[in-house]
Assembly symmetry: C2
């Protein structure tokens, strides 16, 4: 969920916040490693990450855009599953629907 | 486009900004009407609306979430059109796909 929230709202953090948050959440570095790299304390890194979580969560609480996306994704997955299940019946339109649904899912 | 941007990011404006922006963009009131109601000048209303446009546009420039939604919407519309085109061929799965795609489109 941290990764999703970051993907959606990360650009609203400062560059400094993004660097540290990415190192912790996406690159899985330890607090000590990040602290050393950034020249701040281990606790400072931890506080910053928690603060970013709060900021990102706050945007989602207001906008609910991630929620909307996840719902759409789930619905398109159902379309994809139906289209896949019909794959052997030689129905051309279904192949087309399958192709589009996969295109959507790759981008969501 | 103003309406879309407001739908996506409007919650990030202040309540005062939202009230005036809604009156102008969604409710189609005149600048003078809004000015009188809010107790500010006509120019003040206009400046506030322009500032809100800029704020909302700035969020989209950073996040591109509206762009992602509009693209998804276009793709699902294509799925819907295909499913509709096959409506008379008694293909049960297609009816299901049509129902889901309409559900998605209603919510996007």
């Amino acid at each position: 969920m941290q990764t999703y929230l970051y993907d959606f709202y990360g650009e609203l953090l400062t560059e400094h916040q993004r660097n540290i948050y990415e190192d912790f959440v996406l690159n899985d570095f330890s607090l000590s490693e990040i602290a050393q790299e950034a020249g701040i304390s281990r606790q400072g890194v931890y506080d910053l990450v928690r603060r970013c979580d709060k900021i990102l969560g706050g945007y989602e609480e207001k906008l609910h855009l991630l929620e909307r996306f996840l719902k759409t994704k789930e619905q398109i997955s159902r379309i994809q599953a139906i289209a896949k299940g019909c794959g052997n019946q030689g129905f051309e339109a279904m192949a087309e629907i399958l192709a589009i649904s996969e295109e959507v899912l790759n981008e969501l």
